[in-house]
């Protein structure tokens, strides 16, 4: 069962769930207009994204689906002008998450939880340019805005934020998984979709 090749149904499923996840991603990204959320939107995505992702993982039966979802999200980011980095990190996170879930035979909740946490981290790749260039960017407005402003902006955008965002995303992804499971039990089992 594990070594079965992906069928067309699996491929269509990947596409469908990636679209739902992508829409949630765009909604989270839009909250980035609020300045603090530009840094912490992966947290929101990890929380809400748990619902489609956990439903998706319960439907996965063969290796590859989760990897392809990562690749597709990377591709979508590439088309949105984020460059190649999200494509690489997205595929990588998808592959690792897929391997983890395969270890649980795609049936164990624990590996699903771990897999979703790993998968959720791909979003950080969308922010890497911001973190790497943020400090330099803040520096540009030192003349007009003063030292205090530069330090505040650099503190928010500097690369020291990367571990904080990762930690927050991990916590949110764990909560998101439980939300996803609760929703799954409440709605989808009853509707006979799972």
């Amino acid at each position: 069962m594990e070594n079965k090749k992906m069928s067309v149904k699996d491929l269509v499923n990947v596409g469908v769930f990636t679209v739902i996840y992508y829409v949630l991603f765009m909604i989270s990204l839009m909250t980035g207009f609020i300045p603090v959320m530009a840094v912490f939107f992966p947290v929101l995505l990890a929380l809400v994204g748990g619902i489609p992702c956990i439903l998706f993982y319960t439907k996965v039966k063969s290796f590859g689906s989760v990897t392809v979802m990562g690749v597709l999200m990377g591709l979508a980011m590439f088309l949105m002008g984020y460059g190649f980095v999200p494509l690489l990190i997205g595929s990588g996170c998808g592959l690792v998450a897929d391997l983890v879930m395969r270890a649980g035979g795609y049936r164990s909740f624990r590996t699903m939880l771990l897999g979703y946490v790993i998968f959720s981290l791909w979003v950080i790749s969308a922010q890497i340019p911001m973190f790497l260039m943020g400090a330099a960017y803040a520096e540009m407005s030192r003349e007009t805005q003063g030292d205090e402003y530069v330090e505040a902006l650099a503190a928010l955008l500097g690369r020291q934020m990367i571990p904080i965002v990762i930690a927050a995303t991990v916590v949110a992804a764990i909560i998101g998984t439980y939300i996803g499971r609760a929703v799954l039990n409440k709605h989808f089992k009853r509707a006979g979709i799972v």
Binding site: V8, N13, V16, P35, L55, L79, Q145, L153, H187
Partner: protein
């Protein structure tokens, strides 16, 4: 569908091969991520914007082209205006965060939009097959493209239904998730399984190489475009490796 933005239905003045369009998207996305500090970089930026603008005009989206030009002029002049807006105010922060992002990304995004709007899904699939991309990636990608309008359609129906039941945003964010996202997912999943059945009927699952009704091939105009984009790509890489200032 009331909206006329069905994917791939746009007619263009000059029709390019889908592979040429993919190449344009790649090049613009790569050189878009550039610091336009020196004069060469600036000139390159102008050419990049020009290309994406020409593509927008090519697919006959004149209004979009106008808006795009205005956004660019606005964003560009806002960099000059920044000195007058306090960096601590909310608009100041937003402009500061968004302007460089928009400057870098917009050309690539416009090219991607062009690719998606002027290429039929079956044309795109045929092109992917000629590029020997694995079906594991191309089929879900095509499904994604097909599902974006569907999601909008389904969402509008759900919104109407929930309005009738009196469930709106005032019931809280959780209700929004439970009564919007979950019905949406349910419909999309069942539409998805119908689509999977339809795809099998069309022979997507077979081991044999598919033939396609869409005839795609490189023409003279494609060659010119590819050469031009290659020059642009090389110039972009050269500018990036140039010492700043």
């Amino acid at each position: 569908m009331q909206r006329n933005v069905a994917i791939g239905e746009m007619e263009a003045f000059i029709r390019f091969d889908p592979r040429t369009k993919i190449y344009i998207v790649c090049v613009l996305n790569i050189i878009g991520i550039n610091k336009a500090d020196n004069l060469t970089g600036f000139a390159l930026g102008v050419v990049t914007v020009g290309v994406s603008l020409a593509l927008t005009i090519n697919m006959k989206c004149y209004r979009a082209a106008l808006v795009y030009t205005l956004i660019y002029l606005l964003v560009f002049s806002s960099e000059k205006l920044l000195g007058y807006i306090s960096g601590m105010s909310i608009p100041g922060i937003i402009i500061r965060l968004l302007v460089p992002v928009i400057l870098r990304m917009l050309p690539g995004v416009m090219a991607a939009w062009y690719l998606i709007r002027t290429t039929k899904v079956s044309e795109l699939l045929a092109a992917f097959q000629k590029m020997r991309l694995p079906a594991v990636v191309t089929i879900p990608f095509a499904v994604m493209l097909r599902f974006f309008p569907t999601i909008g359609e389904v969402y509008r129906c759900i919104q109407d239904a929930m309005k009738m039941r009196g469930i709106g945003i005032r019931n809280g964010v959780l209700a929004l998730v439970e009564y919007r996202l979950i019905p949406l997912m349910m419909s999309i999943v069942s539409i998805g399984s119908d689509l999977a059945a339809a795809a099998v009927t069309r022979g997507l699952g077979s081991q044999i190489r598919r033939t396609s009704y869409c005839r795609i091939g490189f023409r003279f105009i494609d060659v010119i475009m590819i050469l031009f984009m290659s020059v642009l790509l090389l110039a972009g890489i050269a500018v990036r490796n140039m010492p700043l200032n």
